[in-house]
């Protein structure tokens, strides 16, 4: 029983990181109908900004995390401004390929700046070992990562549902053609979306760098995983992205624990295909209705 709870907590930790990335995917998709393939690499850039701040100037986590999120948000805004804005009305595939190009650029740029080695962000979260009941062992940092991530997601939910800007974002997601006619600055809404998505990804990057290790190419793998989580949940839906992330992480962690670590990807993707055949637009996604 304790082992299962511990695995559930491992899954929650991994799922929290997936969710922080998946939210950026789902928000950008909701607004631009675009798969931002560079998003996984923005996550990686965030992790390395955090790594540099923590190692070169020994910045404490309380300061390093907000600053990293802010800087990464600017990276996201800059990418949208330079590479995506001009293609907004173009063929969607050229947008996707541009995003791929941006992603490759970010990977190689970080590789040139910090080198290809695997690093770890110095542990700054308290990592005392807590024991509950009869032998349930949990480290504090794992709990903190899960709790802070959940807090960030709650803030995002409140932002999109309770503020004016959040309402504008949902409106753009609903119908991007009419919104500019309502006097809403479309460019600003899109910039804010990219900023939020990138900042959340940066938070995910810092957590990932504390719990596991980081390298310039990690964004490809984790980006795909998070994207899959977003699709399982129903891309465009914030609640769906979170749900899908925890589900994917759960499947992965339990496959590794009880079957074989070699089967991890195969089972995760098999499940994805199965789920998509049952719910073609994800669990919480709105079905696409096509008018003739």
């Amino acid at each position: 029983m304790e082992i299962i709870i511990q695995q559930l907590l491992n899954a929650a930790q991994l799922g929290a990181v997936y969710a922080l990335i998946a939210l950026g995917y789902t928000m950008v998709y909701g607004i631009l109908r675009m798969i931002n393939f560079a998003h996984g690499d923005i996550f990686m850039v965030g992790a390395f900004i955090g790594f540099l701040l923590a190692t070169t100037v020994n910045m404490p986590l309380v300061l390093m995390m907000p600053l990293t999120m802010l800087l990464t948000a600017f990276v996201g805004i800059a990418i949208e401004r330079v590479a995506y804005r001009k293609l907004r009305d173009a063929n969607r595939m050229s947008l996707v390929i541009t995003a791929l190009g941006v992603g490759i650029f970010l990977e190689n740029f970080v590789r040139m700046v910090v080198g290809p080695q695997t690093r770890q962000i110095p542990a700054q979260l308290p990592d005392k070992i807590l024991t509950f009941g009869s032998g349930l062992v949990v480290t504090e940092d794992k709990l903190l990562i899960i709790l802070i991530s959940l807090a960030l997601m709650t803030i995002l939910w409140l932002f999109t549902n309770k503020t004016l800007m959040g309402t504008a974002m949902r409106a753009v997601a609903d119908n991007a053609d009419v919104i500019p006619l309502m006097g809403i600055n479309l460019n600003r809404v899109i910039a804010v979306t990219f900023a939020i998505g990138s900042a959340l990804a940066a938070a995910g990057g810092i957590f990932y760098g504390q719990a596991y290790s980081i390298d310039p190419y990690m964004g490809i793998d984790l980006g795909w995983k998070a994207f899959i989580a977003a699709v399982i949940g129903g891309i465009g839906s914030i609640e769906g992205a979170v749900l899908g992330s925890f589900m994917l992480a759960g499947v992965e962690v339990f496959t590794v624990a009880y079957l074989s670590s070699n089967l991890k990807n195969g089972i995760a993707f098999g499940l994805l295909i199965l789920l998509l055949l049952i719910w073609p637009s994800g669990i919480m996604g709105k079905p696409m209705i096509k008018k003739v």
Binding site: A83, F227, S260, L276
Partner: protein
């Protein structure tokens, strides 16, 4: 009233432009050229490095052109091409090592085997894939790519994650050239046949195409199966050229490379696929050489320059270098006379 076309005397330039050589002459000339290059390479007159680049270009042309069938002509966004390449590569590896003595018959059997195996897997994958469209289709094809790679990693007979070692080397430039010509002849004939028209009509408007009586699922699955078959062929060539294959080399990073070359060259254009592959490969090699000539430490910079070029091309010319256009001599003659734009 007499109705007849006034025949103006053609200028020399127009004459030269319309006097395009026929496909078979071009194909034979291309084969002869690659045969000569291969012989020169064998006799050490030509640097093996250039031969290597030409072989890589040839294999990538097969891969990109077949991907073009699905992503360009059919207009779906498939992301799993490297998976079918893996099926072909591993089939060829097994056939070449377990069946016959190294030689031409084994090579041919291995290539046919890899093509058929990839076509079969492609057909089965297509049955499931085309229940969805759009982004979900992209993800499902990507998922199958990962599943194929993951399955190979878990089969000890195929070497598992360590890879398959000791495949006899049988592929050379001439063999690759034959396969390129074969691929292009088949693809060109398909694209300009009624099958091709069906795919293009599905791309332009699937609902209208269905109303015209096209069996959409059948047409889509056919394009997908053929694309997978040629990816398998390229995989078979690859395995018997590299002599060592690992599952990792067929994951989505390979697919991404192919996508970059495809969209750089332009979708819906067979000549664009050639242009994209040649442009990208040559650019990478030239950058590598020029930069390391200036300063060896700069060689890394090409990794930054090449994605930048991709982004700039996309920003300035969204349909790629040759999007939905063909070189004049690429399209069949009848079309040239009726349609100036050679769509």
């Amino acid at each position: 009233m007499k109705q007849h076309q006034t025949t103006k005397p053609m200028s020399l330039i127009t004459k030269l432009r319309t006097a395009t050589p026929s496909w078979s002459i071009l194909a034979i000339a291309f084969l002869a050229l690659s045969g000569v290059l291969e012989l020169l390479g064998d006799m050490d007159y030509l640097n093996q490095y250039y031969l290597h680049i030409l072989i890589i270009v040839g294999m990538n042309i097969i891969l990109v052109a077949s991907l073009n069938l699905v992503n360009g002509y059919l207009g779906e966004f498939a992301l799993g091409h490297a998976g079918f390449m893996a099926v072909g590569a591993y089939t060829a590896a097994v056939i070449a090592t377990k069946i016959g003595p190294p030689g031409l018959p084994t090579l041919i059997i291995a290539l046919i085997g890899s093509t058929l195996a990839a076509a079969l897997i492609g057909y089965l994958v297509g049955l499931i894939t085309f229940k969805t469209v759009g982004d979900y289709l992209a993800i499902i094809t990507l998922g199958f790519n990962m599943i194929i790679v993951n399955a190979i990693q878990n089969i000890d007979y195929l070497g598992g994650p360590r890879g398959f070692i000791g495949i006899p080397k049988a592929t050379n430039l001439f063999i690759v050239a034959i396969c390129v010509v074969l691929t292009y002849t088949v693809l060109r004939n398909l694209v300009y046949s009624d099958h091709g028209r069906r795919w293009i009509s599905i791309r332009e408007n699937a609902i209208a195409a269905e109303l015209m009586g096209i069996d959409i699922n059948r047409a889509k699955n056919m394009a997908f199966t053929i694309a997978a078959a040629f990816a398998g062929l390229a995989g078979g060539l690859w395995a018997q050229y590299q002599q060592f294959i690992t599952p990792k080399s067929f994951d989505y990073i390979k697919t991404t490379d192919l996508l970059v070359m495809l969209y750089l060259g332009g979708t819906g254009s067979l000549s664009g696929s050639i242009l994209g592959v040649v442009f990208y490969t040559v650019l990478m090699e030239v950058l590598r050489n020029v930069l390391s000539m200036i300063d060896p430490r700069l060689a890394e910079l090409r990794m930054l320059i090449s994605p930048l070029i991709l982004v700039v091309v996309m920003l300035t010319k969204q349909s790629g270098l040759m999007g939905n256009r063909e070189w004049r001599w690429f399209s069949p003659r009848k079309e040239e006379n009726t349609d100036e734009s050679c769509s």
